[in-house]
Symmetry: C2
Subunit: 396 residues, 2 copies
């Protein structure tokens, strides 16, 4: 914890107080700790995992490796195809950053929704916690909220996969939310291994025209109440916010609203401020993510260029993650102030020192390929404004 305080430039006592108040969580895997929340830099999560239609264990492990190499703070394994436990173990042995899961995914893949019981869900949570998972996502959708969806005029009723599984379980069994019913038992399981509970966002918008509505607000309020209960039971909590798709003019307002309802680490997926950037959703989402982070979001779920199209490839993970590193950095420049790295890079740039410049780059490989040969930049050639004006000012 002292290490986090030092890296993040926060007084240890402030960090400690924020953790005690639930404003900050420490997500851990063995000795690797990741602080998320108040006064800390914005963190990035990368989703990976097989689907029922694309099962390539090695590819998922490679995605995890690349995600960690390019600076992902956490990884979420969403595998639903193949040997799920085996894939998760492989990912764990090839990475060191905290790992999150959505336990109902494996339950549905292995039991099918028709046979699933609340006991299966609890057993799955317990099993994954024992394995050393750092955080789990559970969706606290209620029958009342589901009922309200029926009369809403949303374009997308629901886009959360974990939320839809939980909903379908409830509908098929004509029952209440299984996690709510067994909340205290779940908290007990999580508390023992200090696993972070991520309160899922079932009712996020699926397009920018579906503006945050009353149903979403009720979910935010429910999650805020559950966060308090979890914290009271010594379980750390992250709240998934109204991410997904949100009109850009509303991002700042809604992030602040959520922070006001619950001053807990806020996780947002994207958000995408437009729907028409398909194929380039990582760029659109990085614009939304910079705005959300700048407004107070603590933790971003990276979006790849393959979003809405197919399971991402390794290259898509890399591409999306770089865009999100930029977004998080810009968000932090708004939350706090422009970094010393920006200043150092600028100073070396003003001295036309390309080599030193790149040591401050978010990702140095691509600029290195484009870098001027022999220090001779082809952009302006001999007509370099920086050089000529520097000469003038130094000579006079």
């Amino acid at each position: 914890m002292k290490k986090i305080a030092k890296t993040e430039n926060v007084a240890p006592v402030v960090l400690k107080d924020n953790i005690a108040e639930g404003k900050t969580v420490i997500m851990a895997r063995s000795n690797h700790l990741c602080g998320i929340g108040c006064r800390l830099t914005t963190k990035i999560n990368v989703n990976i995992g097989t689907s029922s239609a694309s099962i390539h264990k090695e590819k998922e492990v490679e995605k995890a490796r690349v995600a960690e190499a390019y600076g992902a703070d956490t990884i979420t394994d969403l595998s639903m195809g193949g040997d799920i436990t085996g894939i998760r173990k492989q990912i764990q042995s090839n990475t060191s950053v905290p790992l999150t899961t959505v336990p109902i995914y494996q339950c549905v893949a292995e039991h099918s929704l028709n046979n699933l019981t609340a006991g299966d869900l609890l057993a799955q949570i317990e099993e994954q916690v024992k394995e050393g998972i750092s955080s789990i996502v559970l969706h606290f959708i209620t029958p009342q909220l589901l009922q309200q969806l029926k009369t809403s005029n949303r374009v997308f009723a629901m886009v959360s996969k974990g939320g839809s599984f939980t909903s379908l379980y409830m509908i098929k069994n004509n029952t209440t939310n299984p996690y709510l019913e067994h909340f205290d038992e779940i908290l007990q399981i999580l508390k023992e291994k200090d696993v972070v509970l991520s309160l899922g966002n079932t009712l996020r918008s699926g397009c920018v025209h579906d503006t945050p509505d009353e149903i979403q607000k009720q979910e935010i309020e429910l999650n805020a109440a559950l966060a308090k209960r979890a914290n009271d039971s010594c379980v750390q909590v992250i709240i998934e916010g109204m991410g997904g798709h949100i009109a850009p003019a509303l991002i700042t307002k809604h992030v602040r609203y959520q922070k006001q309802i619950a001053n807990r680490p806020l996780f947002v997926s994207g958000p995408l401020p437009t729907d028409i950037a398909i194929g380039y959703d990582h760029i659109a989402a990085s614009i939304g993510a910079a705005m959300a982070s700048g407004a107070g979001a603590d933790y971003l779920c990276m979006i790849t260029p393959a979003e809405h199209l197919c399971l991402p490839d390794v290259e898509h993970i890399k591409e999306g993650l770089i865009a999100f590193k930029i977004a998080a950095h810009i968000g932090d420049s708004i939350k706090y102030s422009p970094s010393d790295s920006d200043k150092q890079l600028a100073i070396h740039r003003s001295q036309l020192d390309w080599g030193q410049q790149l040591s401050y780059a978010i990702e140095p490989q691509r600029p290195r390929q484009l870098c001027p040969k022999d220090g001779k930049c082809t952009m302006c050639g001999k007509y370099c404004a920086v050089k000529t004006m520097k000469n003038y000012l130094e000579q006079t």
Copy 2:
């Protein structure tokens, strides 16, 4: 003009009034008109052109073609190497969108700064105007402002190339600004062919730590006064704003400040909200550009991934332009509201109709390559939340 009013969904009388008041300009090349300013969608300019260190005529023509094909609203030819007039003519015969130049570039390349006279500058402007150029950029830096630069604590004194040429001309000849001296003659030349005058931004910041300072404010005020004089002489004007590099927390504030000083079409380069995204400056700048456009900037100068590194390739132009199309669209969603294209794409997406979805995409080629084969998306495979929840809501 009626066509612009219709495409942009503005009443013709409003458009006419805004043009009369100088809030909107119409940049024209033959029959191709581009409206920039109040109540219109955000436009994008693409810079191309040879440098003294990279002279490939065909490549520049290809960049111009690609820029137009991918939706650039205007092109600026900044050539300083090779047969500059020939390159410009080739670009003109291969494109139809309005073309801008910075006449001093060709003067410096062909006369060298040592021999340049104010007469050469005026002759160059006249020559390019006769050729059918749509807009020219002139820099109105003054000896007083140059003097102030000497005592400023900026990391970068000046990063504007056109501004540095104008400054060096003034320093070498120990004279005042040549454009200011001959302003009425220049306005007369521009008026005859209805060429738009773009008031250059010589003193923009070169890094995010160089916050907009008093010197920049003085330039903005000078440009505002010149804009009024030009409008009074029936010359249309665009003002280049404090773009370049600007801390993200200051973007909205400064765009609004500039609009308040002069309610004229505002052109911003980028802006880059961080310096450490080198190699990916198109992504960083698209985040800044979305914020600037959302705050009121009317016209964006696209930044490529090669910025600060080398003259861009054709692929860099394409990559940067797509990012800026996304940024401008998001900016317009803030200025106005999310578009009908967003809604239409979302509706088709909710129906899992990939083909129709892509007809609303900002750039359909990449998503088409990633698109689900036989309509089967590999992202969630058989566990598609959209599909299952849709079924539930329709059945009950």
